[in-house]
């Protein structure tokens, strides 16, 4: 058994927290986990990528080799597209329909792809995947900072490796008291969003 999850987003989206929740759950389940993230200069509004590798055998490379990503979680649209090539042939994506324009896009010196272009490219890729409005949902619950938890809630519904209730317990344990309730709510909301997306698909 081997599962490789790549989380692509921008600085401040709580990429690392999402990865650490999943890692803690998986370690409890007895899996081997090896993770790495790009941090440092990337954190000031730049791209942030977390690699999470799970196996019942030894894992050597902290980075997921190109073409070996089983689940690509996009916390931001173009950050997911940027890493799309790393997906395995039978890999799936889980996209948060949220766009954070780049500085050059803001200036109208570069163009952020349109919804139509994105849909067409994803369709052409032949990869299976789901798109949910996680940030919009997070804002309704209490703020865009909950996006990561909504996405983790959604992931638990698409991968049989995760037991949603148990992951939620880990989340409760790792959440500071003042945001615990909101986190748990966001987690459930993520599950509902993805179920709806799966029904529509």
């Amino acid at each position: 058994m081997e599962l490789n999850i790549l989380i692509a987003g921008v600085g401040g989206q709580g990429n690392l927290f999402a990865s650490s929740i999943l890692a803690e759950y998986l370690l409890k389940k007895g899996y081997k986990v090896f993770a790495v993230e790009t941090i440092g200069a990337a954190q000031r509004g730049g791209s942030v990528v977390s690699h999470l590798r799970i196996s019942d055998a030894d894992i050597y490379s902290p980075l997921i080799p190109a073409g070996k990503v089983n689940i690509l979680m996009g916390f931001e649209t173009i950050e997911m597209l940027r890493n799309f090539e790393l997906l395995a042939g039978d890999g799936m994506y889980l996209l948060n329909d949220y766009k954070e324009p780049t500085v050059l896009c803001n200036m109208e010196m570069d163009t952020y792809p349109t919804d139509g272009e994105i849909r067409a490219a994803l369709k052409k890729s032949g990869k299976k995947g789901y798109t949910i409005k996680a940030t919009e949902c997070a804002r309704q619950i209490g703020g865009s900072l909950l996006t990561n938890v909504v996405m983790v809630g959604a992931l638990c519904q698409v991968s049989p490796l995760f037991d949603g209730r148990e992951v939620q317990q880990v989340l409760a344990g790792k959440s500071p008291a003042k945001v615990r309730e909101q986190n748990l709510k966001a987690f459930d909301a993520g599950g509902l969003l993805i179920q709806e997306a799966m029904r529509k698909a």
Partner: protein, 611 residues
């Protein structure tokens, strides 16, 4: 204790130092190594200190080592350059208490200005032993071994983890903490006075030669240690092409074996000097060796020399041409290289298909609400007005050099902004020069450039971005901070008073959120003779948001589209991510806006106003 913890490589190395009984830990923050010291600072009986720069950190560690106390110096590769002068003496004197230097490398330059390989200066230049770990557990084991061996050999040991090892997270075994020795001190001037004096005991030979000989003689001791080291081993496999897997290279080689379903002969290396006999034993059975290492062809070169000396006929290829000579190593690079050697394996290399879509590049910028955006705005206006040149430095504000601002004309290494500005002024170019430097960077090395500039009588403006923290690397304190790494109050050094004492023409303190005030200060400074210093003081917005002590009163701004003429000053001279352009007019993203209100001052048409 046999429990395991899920730790980052940096934390694992910190824990290794704790278990080894290190009592003095000093460093300067820098990605990828910062978390080592942060982890250690949680142990109250260890002196952990963020220092003014890496040279000072290493000197502190040597002081502790003189008293037989184990000490750890932590820095990134650029910092090891700064510490190199001291290191090139420390290698001759040797140490007493175990001394380990962690020099975190950043192949690919993901968070750095270069992708230097610190094995070159620490091993090939300073002739010190170097450990190159492949994973967090090995990194921890190596730190512990390094402390023991450092005391045994009296040599400083170097750890050279690459960023992926520093930042990698996995389960790490926790072990008992070793009792530290009681500190004591005794003089040994023939060792610790590095001076060109004639050594009576050595027949009148000059001391630097005597100590150099001592270091050279240590190499045979090291050779024996590395021969038996658990960090090097041979794995049998098919074929006559041997894979030499150095440091993180081992992770990628093993990954490639797993993907290809083939076992190659592998020589796993984690030490410098190399285990000579093990290497020869491996090489003599091979026709060809492929050396996988980050990021220069260091081991490749050492092997070629060894095989020449020993008359071993084996082809050695690696990063000198067969593999890419720049950038970070990866499993993909290993896979592709193996597929060129074994074409039948090509079909097993995971396939990737490009998305076939242009994805916009994302450059780093100041955070929304960052006070430096106001400062950069005022500086860009002033610099353009006087057709001046702006030299830059290392820190968050360096994002002013990227689009849309494109303000700073140079960025090199810590502290180079002020001397480079001085040089531009001395060249006779004749336009005003401005240097912009952060507070941590100012103390690190910039202060020397400032003193030199003042003393040389150059005309220039030096702007110090004083946010009271090392924001770029994760808010570590520096000599201008009011608290230390534990959050305990310490004496903060005042940049403006320092500049005044040194003889700066003026040292104006401004609020960077107050754009008119900054502009006025720049106008005054640019007209002055000598070195004019402007200190833009305000705690980092991200810290202020956490502590609730914002440098502005949040208030909603509104946009009057009829007044917006699409001049784009709000993007090209300001560049707040909460403002974008749509159909030729500005628009505010209220989900992103933090209501700092600086844009009200930026818009010359009065299109942005307080609500």
């Amino acid at each position: 204790m046999t429990e395991q913890e899920y730790l980052m490589g940096n934390e694992a190395m910190g824990r290794g130092a704790i278990e080894a009984g290190a009592k003095v830990v000093a460093g300067y923050p820098g990605t990828p190594a910062s978390e080592v010291l942060e982890y250690i600072s949680k142990y109250p009986d260890v002196h952990a200190e963020w220092c003014i720069n890496e040279k000072v950190a290493l000197e502190i560690c040597m002081g502790a080592s003189l008293c037989h106390t184990r000490s750890l110096a932590v820095m990134k590769h650029n910092g090891t350059n700064v510490a190199l002068d001291f290191l090139m003496h420390l290698n001759y004197t040797g140490v007493r208490g175990g001394l380990v230097l962690i020099s975190g490398d950043d192949p690919g330059g993901i968070s750095s200005q270069n992708e230097e390989d610190s094995r070159i200066i620490t091993r090939l230049d300073a002739h010190l032993p170097v450990f190159d770990p492949w994973c967090p557990q090995e990194a921890k084991d190596m730190v512990k071994a390094a402390f023991e061996l450092s005391e045994e050999t009296e040599l400083c040991f170097v750890m050279r983890p690459v960023a992926r090892v520093c930042h990698g997270r996995s389960m790490v075994r926790m072990e008992d903490i070793k009792e530290a020795k009681e500190p004591h001190f005794e003089d040994d001037r023939s060792r610790f006075i590095m001076s060109a004096v004639k050594e009576v005991k050595a027949g009148g030979i000059l001391r630097p030669v005597v100590r150099h000989r001592w270091l050279n003689e240590k190499q045979s001791v090291l050779a024996k240690i590395m021969e038996d080291s658990p960090f090097n081993h041979i794995e049998d496999g098919e074929g006559k092409t041997g894979l030499v897997a150095c440091g993180i290279g081992y992770a990628f080689v093993k990954e490639a074996e797993k993907i290809l379903g083939k076992k190659f002969p592998v020589l796993k290396l984690g030490t410098l000097p190399l285990p000579k006999n093990k290497v020869l034993q491996f090489a003599r059975k091979m026709d060809r060796l492929v050396v996988y290492e980050d990021s220069e062809a260091v081991v490749e070169g050492i092997l070629k020399q060894l095989f020449y000396d020993e008359g071993v006929k084996v082809e050695v290829v690696g990063r000198s041409g067969f593999l890419p000579s720049e950038g970070e190593l990866s499993a993909t690079i290993v896979l592709k290289s193996l597929a060129t050697l074994y074409p039948e394996l090509e079909k097993k290399v995971p396939k990737t298909a490009p998305l076939g879509m242009k994805v916009p590049i994302r450059t780093r910028t100041q955070c929304v609400g960052c006070q430096y955006r106001g400062l950069l705005h005022a500086l860009k206006l002033t610099a353009h007005k006087y057709k001046g040149v702006v030299t830059g430095d290392i820190g968050c504000y360096d994002a002013g050099s990227f689009p849309p601002l494109e303000l700073q004309s140079t960025i090199y290494c810590m502290g180079s902004s002020i001397p480079m500005a001085s040089g531009i002024a001395h060249s006779g170019y004749g336009r005003p020069v401005f240097a912009i430097i952060g507070d941590s960077t100012f103390f690190h090395n910039g202060v020397l450039g400032l003193l030199n500039a003042i003393h040389s009588g150059v005309d220039m403006v030096a702007i110090v971005c004083d946010n009271r923290t090392t924001a770029m690397t994760g808010f570590q304190p520096h000599p201008g901070s009011e608290v230390d790494v534990h959050g305990e109050p310490v004496l903060a050094i005042d940049v403006a008073r320092l500049a005044t004492a040194a003889g700066a023409t003026s040292a104006q303190v401004v609020n960077p959120y107050d754009i008119p005030q900054v502009k006025e200060a720049l106008e005054k400074a640019v007209k002055e003779k000598g070195v004019s210093v402007i200190v833009a003081t305000m705690p980092c917005y991200l810290v202020a948001r956490r502590t609730g002590k914002l440098g502005f009163t949040p208030r909603k701004v509104v946009l009057d589209l009829d007044r917006c003429n699409g001049c784009k000053i709000c993007v090209t001279y300001f560049g707040c991510p909460a403002i974008h352009f749509s159909e030729g007019k500005a628009a505010i993203d209220y989900g992103t806006c933090v209501e700092c209100g600086m844009c009200v001052e930026v818009c010359k048409r009065g299109a942005i106003t307080w609500s």
